[in-house]
Structures are given as C-alpha cells and as structure tokens.
C-alpha cells in the first residue's frame, strides 16, 4: 500500500533560510512550506542573481556508485543562455518588453515588470529583439508556422527575427533540464498566486489590468475539448481566456492534423505541456520550472479527477453523441476539486512528485490492531475501508488482489482534505465516485465520517490537546459498490469507532498525530540533514522532496543513481535505487561525507522502521471480487 513519511526540519540546522525556519516551527505545514518552493528555487530566494550550480558525485561514501553522468544535469550550461530583456515588436510598431530573466534586477522590481508586461512606446528596430520563443519539442515543424501561431498567443509580431533565436535556443536547450527559465525568479509574491481573479465584468481596473494579473500567475491549467470548448481553467473567467483557448486549440489541432502530436513547447519563459486524452486536451503552463514529466503527471491527475466524476464510458459517450458537447455542465461542481488539485501541484506536493502517500507513523502492533479491527467489523458490502488521521493514512482494508491505487487515494485525499466541499458541511457523507485506478468504468460509493480527536482525548487521557488543531480528525472512509449501503456502512463506522476506542487505538492515533513528523535529529542525532523525503519503491512510499533533484534522477537517458547538488543556500542529495528513492537537504557548509553518512543512516532507519512508517500490505479481506463489486456503470 501507498504511504509516506516526511521528516521535520532539524532544529539544529543553524543559520538557515526562511523556509527552513518555518519548517521547524510548524511541522504540520512543513510539507507545504518547503514545497511551495521547488527545491532548485530554495537556494534562490535570497539571491536571484545567483545561478551557479554544481554537480558532484560522492563516490567514496555512498554504496551505489553506478557510473553517473553528472554533466547532463549541470544547470550551468543552460542557465548561461538567458537574456535580460525580451522585447516583442508589434506590427503597429509599438513594442512590448518585459524582463524575463532579470539577472541584474532587484527581486521586487523584477517581479513587477515580470508580471505586468509593460508596453513601451519604442520605435526602435528589431535588432534588439532577443529570444522569446524556444521549444524543445523535437517534433516541431517548419519554424515559420510555429512562429505565427505562437505569435498570436503572446501578442508577438510574426516578423521579428525570433526564428533564428528560436533555433539557437533549441540547440542550446538541454532537454533534461527544463528548469532553467525559472532559475532567477523569486517567490516574494507567491502568496498572490492563489488569489482569485475578479470577474471581468465587474473588475474595476479594466481588462488590460486584469489580463496582466492573469499573466502574472505562475501556473495555469487549461482543459478544453478537442472541438475547442473550454472545460476548465484555473485562473480567469471565460471572456478573459476564450481567445487563448482558441489559439491553443488551433495549435494543438494543427499538429494533430499532420498526425503529429504536440507535447510541449516553451514560450516567453513559460513551459507549455499538452496532454491529449481522448476528446480532451489538457494543458499545463508553468513558470515554475518543473519538468515535462512532472507536469504530465499533474495533468494526468486532473484527467483522473474528470474520470472520477464522470467515468470513462460516460465521458466517451457524451462526446461520441455530440462532439461539441459542453462538458462543463456534466462536470458542474467539480471545479473546486480540480482547483484544489491544481493548487496542490503549484504549491508543490511530495505525494504527487513521488506518486506516493504519507502514512501515520505508529507501531507495527498498533497498526495490526487497527487493521484487524477494521477487518473484523467489516460489513458485507465493504470494498475498501480506510482510516486517515491528520491527513495521513493509518490503515487500509482491501479485497484480495486489489490494492488501492495511489492516484485514487490522491483523488480521495484531495476531495476530503484540500477541497472544502465535504468537510464544511459537517455530518456524514455519501459520495458516488469513480476510482479510475481501480475501475474507470464504474461508480463506487464512499461513506465519509469525520470523528473529532478531542473526544478521544477525553476518553484516552489528555495528550496535548492544544496541539490538535481543528483539522486533526480521524476520517473513516468506507467504500462500497452498492449504492444503497449507506446505513450498513454507517453501522460499521459506529462499531469500528467503538472498538477502536475500547482497545486504545484511538489514543494511539491521537498521540501519533500530535507528535507530528519526526525531526531529522530525532532519527539521527546530530545529522547535517535538514529535511528529507524517502520513498520505498516496493510500497510506493516515501519519506520527504525536491523537484529538480527528482528531475535529474529521473531524466530519461540518465543512469544517475546519486545526484549531489551544491549551491549557496543548501546542499542537496538525491539517491535512487530499485528499492527506494531518497531526497535530502542540508546546510550550505556541510561536507559531502557528512551528508552521505546521514543519508546512509536515514536509509538504515527507514528500513528498520519500515513497518511503522509504511503500511505494508494493509489488511486483506478474504472475499474475492465479483463483477458487480467493480462498480455500476450508471447510478
């Protein structure tokens, strides 16, 4: 089963960045805090001018020194090609310029100009134009066509000499490193990323300003039908984006028309990644420097959410009946779920990055007791039963030969803990949903009940109830294929909770939640590591993250097993083996030896504690599935 653990930042880390101090003060939000900032950005917060990055291999100290090719990962080779100012000339002679990679600009100024696309009245010629469109999609057709299409998107003239710079950039671009164009961004205004844009009809500042706000968003997700109908967009309303949707649809179908699939391109510092899923196009536009593979995983998750709402047969049928179907209507009410997913991705999520989930760390015997309680009290029509506390998985009961797919769990967790739709209402919930990883053709029904942990503190003695925020509740999720089994599962909830309280498990859970994540120094006294992620491959599990490290280790042609990255703010390490993946960050003055030793210790710890940290197998019920248990095609 999936599960993950993440370390608390070490309080001993000493002179460390803002991010790290947040980590040590609040372990609940640690995940979010650190991952707002993809790791390669961590180092850049205080100094956007800094762009050096070195790659080393600590051969001597780590145990898997497989011949790496660190030179492929070097950011330095690509970061150099950045230009300070991008200027686009318009056909009307006016020009628009913006700082895309302002090496010499102070962060705040830089951001202002970055965000607001100031149009400058400038009659100068085109000789100052510099690269603004680059693409690493090897499938690109004749440059001129791309040029004109993109020109529409960006309001860029067709006749500027971008063609040459475009091809230059294609050559110089390291296909493994898509993070370079974000290298100098700073994140001082990141908190505005999630502010809602006003409705364009009521916004006072006029469309221009609204558009600039829209453009200032670092990440966009668009979903449209292949007929060009908008389905979902993270920011902005219809009238604001309809033009862009049209252009994007044109670009995509242009390639489709020539039996070629457009997978992604780069324009003006933004990476566009396109995924085509049956009748849908999903587009991610990011200035955050994630790799194509990572963006693709995010798009996949959004697609899964759509399937979860509709199921594949319904989706296909809607479009085969009427290709111009407006999918917004059947999807009505799903937008908050999509946006919650999108924002999780923008903030950064270790679970998404590593396709794994975090488990609550409790003793093996305690977990077994909870598992057996679930199993013992299991009602007839139960398919999956889950207990989740503090957003972390505690226990799972599942049918033989069916594990719960991490992407399904991600959808469920997103629905329950990121979007407010379910929790805010209070009470119990009965939710029809499709779990695409389990069966994308049918609906299942999920019983959800939140049991506040305060009650348990009263029962099981007091255990730091101050620490338990309101969100620390035990969620009981019971999934069945029978749509009328609500009352049956409700009964099961009652008996399970009763039993867990009687046998002390609730107390165990409450104190585990209150304890939070272990600090790195709890695990290894005196370690140099500040924060780490560990993923057990066998159980699809992890202990903590970092985007660029992940990109490096997982770059397609790389056989890299250990990646060591040094820069001014931190030293980071990624280590991948067939058994696990581990990512760690330490202070800037740490020696590689110390880091490697710590990494070894973490791995030893994780293995030793495996059954506490991870849910190994979960409780398996003896029943085997029959066809109707797979979910009904109609409600």
């Amino acid at each position: 089963m999936a599960g993950a653990v993440e370390s608390k930042a070490s309080p001993q880390a000493g002179n460390i960045s803002k991010v790290t101090s947040e980590q040590s003060s609040n372990e609940q939000s640690l995940d979010v805090d650190s991952q707002k900032l993809p790791s390669h950005l961590l180092s850049r917060i205080n100094d956007p001018k800094d762009s050096y990055q070195n790659t080393h291999l600590p051969r001597s100290t780590l145990r898997f020194p497989k011949s790496p090719r660190p030179q492929l990962q070097s950011a330095a080779t690509t970061a150099v090609s950045l230009t300070d100012i991008h200027t686009h000339s318009y056909q009307d002679g006016s020009r628009e310029s913006f700082a895309a990679q302002a090496k010499s600009t102070h962060p705040s100024q830089f951001l202002k100009s970055f965000g607001s696309f100031q149009r400058l009245k400038d009659s100068g010629g085109s000789e100052t134009d510099t690269a603004s469109i680059g693409s690493c999609a090897p499938t690109l057709g004749p440059g001129g066509d791309v040029e004109s299409l993109l020109g529409n998107v960006l309001g860029v003239s067709q006749e500027s000499p971008e063609l040459t710079s475009f091809s230059n950039q294609t050559e110089s671009l390291d296909p493994f490193d898509s993070s370079f164009y974000k290298a100098n961004d700073d994140l001082s205004s990141f908190d505005k990323e999630f502010d809602e844009l006003a409705d364009s009809s009521v916004f006072e500042g006029g469309e221009e300003q609204l558009l600039s706000l829209w453009k200032a968003k670092r990440k966009h997700f668009l979903i449209l039908s292949s007929a060009g109908k908008p389905i979902y967009n993270r920011h902005g309303d219809d009238s604001l984006i309809s033009g862009y949707v049209g252009v994007i649809q044109t670009i995509i179908s242009f390639y489709e028309g020539s039996h070629d699939q457009l997978k992604g391109f780069t324009a003006a510092g933004s990476r566009f990644v396109i995924m085509s899923q049956g009748p849908l196009y999903l587009v991610a536009i990011s200035k955050l420097g994630e790799s194509d593979a990572q963006l693709r995983i995010q798009l996949e998750a959004l697609y899964m959410q759509i399937l979860s709402t509709l199921t594949l047969p319904v989706l296909s049928q809607l479009f085969s009946n009427r290709p111009s179907t407006d999918l917004r209507r059947p999807l009505q009410g799903t937008e908050p779920l999509l946006s919650a997913l999108a924002d999780t991705f923008t903030r950064g999520s270790s679970s998404t990055l590593l396709s794994a989930l975090e488990c609550l760390r409790i003793r093996k015997t305690h977990r077994q007791l909870i598992n057996s309680t679930l199993l013992h009290k299991r009602s007839e029509n139960l398919l999956y039963g889950l207990i989740v506390a503090g957003g972390r998985l505690v226990s799972v009961v599942r049918p033989r030969r069916h594990s719960l797919h991490p992407s399904d769990l991600q959808l469920i967790f997103n629905m329950l803990f990121e979007a407010d739709g379910v929790k805010a209402g209070g009470g119990e919930n009965w939710i029809p949903l499709c779990l695409p990883g389990f069966n994308k053709n049918g609906y299942l029904y999920m019983y959800v009940s939140f049991v506040p942990l305060e009650d348990m503190n009263q029962i099981g003695g007091n255990h730091g109830s101050d620490l338990l925020g309101k969100k620390d509740e035990v969620a009981v999720l019971l999934i069945s294929a029978k749509k009328d089994s609500f009352y049956e599962l409700r009964d099961m909830r009652d008996t399970v909770i009763e039993e867990l309280e009687a046998n002390g498990s609730m107390h165990v859970i409450a104190s585990a939640v209150a304890r939070g994540r272990p600090s790195t120094t709890d695990i290894i006294p005196g370690t140099v590591l500040r924060h780490f992620l560990y993923k057990s491959r066998a159980h699809v599990q992890l202990l903590s993250l970092y985007h660029s490290l992940h990109t490096s280790v997982h770059a397609k042609n790389s056989h890299l097993k250990v990646h060591h990255c040094v820069d001014r703010e931190a030293i980071s390490l990624a280590w991948a083996t067939p058994l696990f993946e581990m990512y760690g960050v330490a202070g800037p003055s740490t020696s590689r030896n110390a880091l490697a030793q710590s990494a070894n210790k973490i791995v030893q710890w994780a293995r030793r504690e495996e059954e506490r940290i991870f849910i190994v197998g979960g409780a398996v019920s003896s029943s085997t599935l029959k066809a109707p248990d797979l979910g009904s095609e109609i409600w």
Binding site: T309, V422, G426, N429, W430, P432, F486, Y487, E488, R490
Partner: protein, 248 residues
C-alpha cells in the same frame, strides 16, 4: 420550545427529510443554519449527499430530523430516489433571484408527488431573501399557512433588489400543489427555523416511525411496518434507530 426540561419525557420520533433543488440555491446553507446556526459565504458545492441530524422540539413531542442534503448538480439527479424514498418530508428549494431554479423546483415537486411516499409533506422554499430589499422590512408572517399575509411588498421597487420571483408567484404555485411555502434567508437566518418547525407540525402522528426513548411503545408500529415493505434497507436502519435511541 422552552419545555425541554418538562418532567415526563416527551414522545420522540424521527422524521426523514430530503432537500432537493437546483445547484447553488442554498440547500446546504439552509441545513447548516438549521443544524449549526451558522453560515458560510461561497460554500463549495456538495458532492453526492450529506446526512445530518437535528432535533426539533414541539410543545407535545420531539422530532428528530434525519436530513439528506443532496447535491443539486444535474448528474446527481438520478440518485435522488434513493434519498426521497420513504422520506416523510421534503424541502424543495429555489433561489428567489433565479427564475430557472423555480422551474427546477416544480420539476422536483412533480417527481415527489409521482414517486415519493403518498403522505410526504413538501415545503417549497424560496431562499436568498437577503438579496431582496425586503429583509429590512421583514414580515415574519410571510409563510404560507395563514392566508391574508402581505406579499406584494417587493415587487414594485427595484433599487438593488435582485428578486426575480415574486412572493405571489411562489405562493400561488405552492397553494395549487398543497405545499407549505416560505421565503427564507440562510444568511440572515430569517424563517429557517420556521420552515422546519412547520414541517414537524405538518407531519401527521400516524406518519411517525421509529418512536424512541421513553415514548417508544406508542402507536407507531404500523408506520414502521409500512416502511419495511418499501425499503430493503430496513434491517440496518432498524438497528441504527435502536442504537441512537439509547444514545439520546
């Protein structure tokens, strides 16, 4: 409703209530106001359905509402029978500022009359009264049982008044179909408690099922029996009832 402490425990019975209506008319907000006396701006849409309970004290008995708050989106419509089947009462909600929502409400009323239990008590509720400029001159006698209440207030003036469906229109339709009628604001709380109290009062004694606690013996066995025929869920539900009875 101050008599909760009266010496002999009042007979208590549970009433299943289902909320139906177009998306975003305020069904969940009405329930939240009734159950928690709370209101949330920009509440996210309900997914599937939520199940909540709340007691309503009447002078001579206590009603425990078992409320099914359903999602209004079109795709959930086919699930509705599961929730209104053997419900004794229904709240059909529309948005006073949105004409299409009354069309949808009429559709639900028709479906309930066709397919729900014959004796079901239906209340038609026009929500978002706070968006009309009536709320200041609020007239507590707006609800529909007593005739003669003043209704034409808001129609004439239209300064800042988002009302699109007149009280008269709603009331006349409700009278035609024999429904209780209220205009409410979940935001300000106007008339919310009244709706549920009126429903509790309108449910005939014989429709009560699953009497609990001290008054358990009562003449409610027949109704419970009738429930058994209709639903195959009765087994588990009976148990639930018993347990809850002990708890409260």
């Amino acid at each position: 409703m101050a008599e909760t402490t009266a010496a002999p425990p009042k007979p208590s019975s549970s009433v299943k209530l289902v909320l139906l209506g177009e998306a975003a008319v305020g069904k969940s907000s009405l329930v939240l106001r009734f159950v928690n006396n709370d209101f949330q701006e920009n509440k996210e849409p309900t997914i599937g359905a939520a199940f909540l309970t709340q007691k309503c004290n009447l002078p001579h008995r206590t009603i425990k509402f078992e409320i099914w708050d359903t999602a209004g989106q079109e795709r959930f419509a086919s699930l509705a029978p599961m929730y209104y089947r053997n419900a004794q009462s229904a709240l059909v909600v529309y948005d006073l500022t949105k004409p299409t929502s009354l069309v949808k409400a009429r559709h639900w009323v028709a479906e309930l009359q066709r397919q729900a239990s014959p004796g079901i008590v239906i209340a038609l509720v026009g929500n978002k009264l706070d968006l009309t400029n009536e709320q200041s001159t609020e007239d507590p006698a707006i609800h529909g049982d007593d005739e003669g209440s003043t209704t034409e207030t808001a129609e004439a003036e239209s300064d800042g008044d988002a009302r699109k469906i007149s009280t008269k229109e709603g009331r006349e339709y409700a009278e035609e179909e024999g429904l209780l009628f209220f205009e409410t604001s979940a935001k300000s709380g106007v008339n919310v408690q009244e709706v549920f109290t009126a429903i509790a009062n309108a449910i005939p004694e014989t429709q009560m099922k699953g009497a609990r606690g001290a008054g358990a013996a009562g003449g409610t066995q027949t109704a419970l029996g009738a429930g058994t025929e209709r639903v195959n869920l009765t087994g588990p539900r009976g148990e639930v009832g018993a347990k809850e009875g002990c708890a409260c």
